[in-house]
């Protein structure tokens, strides 16, 4: 556990301070290099530490401004990620603390019959929906791309699964009334850029996705108000789709009769056309070469052990999580012979098709190095990729993991 190691490191630093009287030894926060996912650019380990945001447990602090903090592997040992262990991701550095009192969402746009304002109380009076869903950053595992690509160099931890409770976006849109010409729903949150001309983080989703019963404006996360850094007072939840659409501190919702423009729709958050096994298409935003990222690709992660972990020869239980874009996990298979043969892992609690699905598998560890590969398959038969599907933004990395255990 990183907490114990960090304590030890802190103790070591204290000892060094006592021995040398050097304050500089003591002033440095302990490196979090050992918490990083193996394979991220080496530059990350040169500076990274754990950082503790208000109301949060220590997270891997990739950048403090804007705040980009990922969860260490140990936080993924339960299918629900506690709020104080949930990753934090912002694009822009001006992040106001939005108060519940006076908070309102403006609903309008050229596809709305008329503008309306929705307060937090209004949201809570609407029929509530609760959905367990994985929120995964589009660029999760970007740091593992080969060759490396630019951006926030996430390892495994830019994801989490929570029970989100809120009002249906459809019900909110109905308050304004949507014209039949509406094609997309545009969304903006209270966070903004540090300099005025930087493009504000404005996103849209197709109308069909916006009116699904599980697309909600959430004011509760795991039974509690959303943490500030996860979007208080309310954020949009788009189950199955990557985090880029899950607008935090939502303040503006616009019914649009023309495609949403802006940097964050194009060229940002796009994947090459035809490269990924994607079902959900965002047709009003597609062009000949690129299309917006949509649903999460099927994926899995071993969370019981880190790369190179020491185990005793004999029976060892490996466990982890599997997830996809909302079809649901049908099977998780494990190979201990380099992919020649595969066996079904035992699936754990099913919290719904959008949630993390826990799994476990017992291996017989032999003395020396043991390879453990994991491949998840979803209900529509999609499995993880053996070789990276390279793309310039480092999205959709679901390469089959191959972990080494040392017995």
């Amino acid at each position: 556990m990183f907490t114990r190691r960090h304590l030890l490191q802190t103790a070591g630093a204290s000892a060094a301070f006592a021995a040398t009287g050097s304050l500089s030894e003591f002033a440095h926060a302990a490196s979090a290099a050992a918490d990083l996912t193996p394979g991220v650019p080496t530059g990350v380990s040169s500076y990274v530490t754990m950082g503790t945001l208000p109301g949060k447990k220590p997270l891997i602090q990739l950048s403090d401004r804007p705040p980009n903090y990922e969860s260490p592997l140990e936080y993924f040992r339960t299918p629900i990620t506690p709020n104080d262990q949930f990753f934090v991701r912002y694009h822009l550095a001006d992040i106001p603390e939005v108060k519940a009192e006076g908070y309102k969402i403006s609903v309008g746009g050229d596809g709305a019959n008329g503008p309306v304002e929705i307060t937090l109380d209004d949201l809570k009076k609407m029929p509530a929906v609760e959905v367990a869903a994985v929120n995964q950053c589009s660029g999760n595992r970007r740091g593992l791309s080969t060759p490396h690509v630019q951006g926030v160099e996430w390892g495994y931890g830019a994801m989490g699964c929570a029970k989100w409770k809120g009002a249906k976006l459809k019900d909110v849109l109905d308050k304004a009334g949507i014209k039949k010409e509406t094609i997309e729903i545009g969304m903006n949150g209270a966070d903004g850029p540090a300099v005025p001309d930087t493009p504000d983080f404005i996103k849209s989703i197709p109308l069909w996705k916006a009116v699904e019963d599980t697309t909600i404006i959430a004011y509760e996360m795991n039974g509690a108000p959303l943490p500030h850094f996860n979007g208080f007072p309310a954020r949009v939840i788009v189950p199955g789709w990557t985090g880029t659409y899950w607008i935090k501190h939502i303040t503006n919702i616009n019914a649009l009769t023309k495609p949403q423009g802006g940097f964050w729709m194009n060229p940002a958050y796009r994947i090459p056309v035809g490269k990924f096994p994607i079902r959900d298409r965002f047709i009003t935003q597609e062009n000949a070469t690129s299309t917006p990222i949509t649903e999460i690709v099927v994926n899995s992660l071993i969370t019981s052990h880190r790369e190179g972990a020491k185990v005793k020869p004999g029976k060892v239980t490996i466990s982890g999580l599997a997830w996809d874009g909302g079809y649901g996990i049908r099977a998780v298979q494990v190979s201990t012979d380099g992919g020649k043969t595969w066996s079904d892992a035992k699936l754990g609690q099913d919290l719904g098709r959008f949630a993390f699905r826990p799994w476990s598998f017992e291996i017989a560890a032999k003395k020396g190095k043991n390879s453990v590969m994991v491949n998840a398959t979803n209900v529509i038969g999609q499995s993880q990729t053996a070789a990276l599907i390279f793309n310039p933004a480092g999205y959709h990395n679901n390469v089959i993991q191959n972990l080494t255990l040392n017995a």
């Binding site: 500076y47 401004r65 550095a93 992040i95 603390e97 926030v152 903004g192 300099v195």
Partner: protein
């Protein structure tokens, strides 16, 4: 929502109350151009983005990155500073 005013000092000092309780201390490598990096880049983001995105970009890659900051993100960096920043990054954080 947009920031209402661009006040450089305010952007650096008057972080919202909920900003990180543990501000990062990023010590970049010394060298010509470091002053321009510190004066420009951290108006919008932590200097952590520099070592984080290293050492895999070559000099041309860093130059393109600086241009992206100016053209796509509208960073108000003048041409002389932009050249100095790109040269510093290519030399100190390039592949």
């Amino acid at each position: 929502m947009r920031a209402f005013a661009f006040i450089f000092a305010a952007a650096l000092i008057a972080l919202p109350a909920a900003a990180s309780a543990e501000e990062q201390t990023i010590k970049l490598k010394p060298g010509p151009g470091l002053d321009k990096v510190e004066a420009n880049c951290q108006a919008c983001h932590s200097l952590a983005y520099i070592p984080m995105n290293s050492p895999f970009l070559n000099a041309a890659g860093w130059d393109a990155t600086v241009k992206k900051m100016i053209n796509a993100f509208k960073a108000p960096i003048d041409a002389a500073d932009a050249n100095a920043i790109a040269a510093y990054l290519g030399k100190n954080y390039g592949s």
